[in-house]
């Protein structure tokens, strides 16, 4: 429904500054309406459980290999890069604590979100953009299925559920990578490493990391769906939708990271 709210192609002329402001606020209102519609349709039955599970599989399982590799490498590289500074102060024994805090608080969620924005966000943007161009979204609508509920709600919920799980997995893999490096260089035992790691992090760190990941997942899914759903007609529109899904999602992820840092610091300080 509400197909008439979809954007139509605008003329290619360069708009004046007031016109740009006007367009900016119109777009902002459009985004707000899109997000509002998501919450309305996500809460109201019928629920698309089968499609949500299928999308979770698409988002999660298909990203696993890439996430495993990048998480593992991140753990090794971060450990290796941090060692010289700590060695200078004779504090290499703090390496597991440093790694744990960095990986749990920032690197795990951020690396997962950036990988997901590239792989999942672009895929959602391109898929929905292509469906829009080839009238598949209209076809779904005229066959009595709400395409927003079936395509958008399911994908956004899938990314919001799955990216926190992937984040926990990335943290685990990064800590394993870091352990291998620490074990090789400092001959630290696994038990001692684990004790150091869990001694350094708090429940607040894990909680904040999870909340942040849910926000990242929601953002990546929402941006991909919005860009794809509103893509302009033509194959160029599909490419633009995929590209701007990645760029916008990554930008918003960094903004959210900054906000969550401030919130976590405020909580720790209180």
């Amino acid at each position: 429904m509400q197909a008439d709210t979809k954007s139509t192609d605008s003329p290619p002329s360069r708009p004046s500054i007031p016109r740009r402001f006007e367009r900016f606020f119109i777009n902002l209102a459009d985004v707000a309406a899109f997000v509002g519609r998501f919450f309305r349709e996500a809460l109201l039955p019928p629920y698309e459980f089968k499609e949500i599970i299928r999308q979770c599989y698409e988002v999660g399982y298909r990203s696993l290999l890439l996430i495993s590799t990048t998480g593992f490498i991140t753990g090794i590289v971060f450990t290796n890069q941090s060692r010289p500074s700590l060695t200078e102060f004779g504090a290499t024994s703090w390496l597991p604590s440093l790694i744990a805090i960095a990986v749990v608080r920032a690197l795990g969620p951020l690396v997962t979100a950036l990988i997901a924005a590239g792989k999942v966000g672009s895929s959602i943007g391109a898929e929905l953009g292509s469906m829009n161009v080839t009238e598949q979204i209209d076809a779904m609508e005229v066959s009595g299925t709400d395409p927003f509920k079936f395509l958008v709600v399911t994908r956004v919920l899938a990314t919001s559920f799955t990216i926190p799980l992937l984040t926990m997995y990335t943290i685990f893999v990064a800590l394993i990578g870091a352990y291998i490096n620490v074990n090789q260089n400092e001959q630290t035992s696994f038990t001692s490493y684990i004790q150091e790691v869990f001694g350094a992090i708090t429940y607040l760190d894990i909680f904040m990391s999870l909340i942040k990941s849910i926000a990242f997942g929601f953002t990546i899914g929402m941006v991909g769906c919005y860009k794809g759903y509103h893509s302009s007609k033509g194959t160029e529109g599909v490419g633009k939708a995929a590209n701007s899904s990645v760029v916008t999602a990554m930008f918003l992820v960094f903004i959210e990271e900054l906000l969550s840092l401030q919130i976590a610091n405020a909580i720790r300080g209180s």
């Binding site: 898929e127 009238e135 598949q136 209209d138 779904m140 609508e141 005229v142 066959s143 299925t145 709400d146």
Partner: protein, 248 residues
Amino acid sequence: MDELVIDIQGLKKSFGDLHVLRGVDLQVHRGENVVVLGRSGTGKSVLIKIIVGLLKPDAGEVRVLGQDVTLLRGRELDDFRQKVGFSFQSSALYDSMSIRENLEFPLVRNIRNLSRADINRAVEEALDDVGLSQTINQMPSELSGGQRKRIGIARTLMLKPEIMLYDEPTAGLDPITSIEINNLINEVRQRTGASSIIITHDLTCAKTTGDRVAMLLDGTFERVGTFDEVFADPDERVQQFYNYNFVN
């Protein structure tokens, strides 16, 4: 054939400064095939998208099967759409689904408590009707343009609509495949008794499938009648259309 299934009065639709439909009137009777002809960008597809509620008109009345389409919302609109099939120009098959899943989609989404056996039977019958039983497990990307059109029509017929809307059914197809699609449109009417609006540029399609032809010129239906009546008109725009298709 007297019962009106589509009654459009004074329909207007603009996109910004572009006035596409400027007061369109059209009536379609039960079991009748009406062909809408016109140049590209004259609003032919817009007309049928309004009929099925994909676009909202700026003014005018659109009554389909006794219901004012502009007033339908939510569940009412979904129920209405089950009675109106829409065959898209691009076929609009779901790329990520097999042909079987494409055909099952409208059934499983709209009719609850159907057994697996019932669904399988309906899908096999639909494919049999369009002569493409062998494609059941293929993906849309593996099919030719003509096959995709046929599957698109078969999917539209899964819910046994009372009205069929065809958007450029023969666009981009070779002459032999176009003839097959024209025959299929006529078969659908004979088999289901559905009324149809067929949007096309193809005069062979218009002549073969249409009981009446409506020519969209400058945002209104200036010529409506049988094929021969419309093209007997000496209007230069009408004759250009005819000559391009049948003389060149």
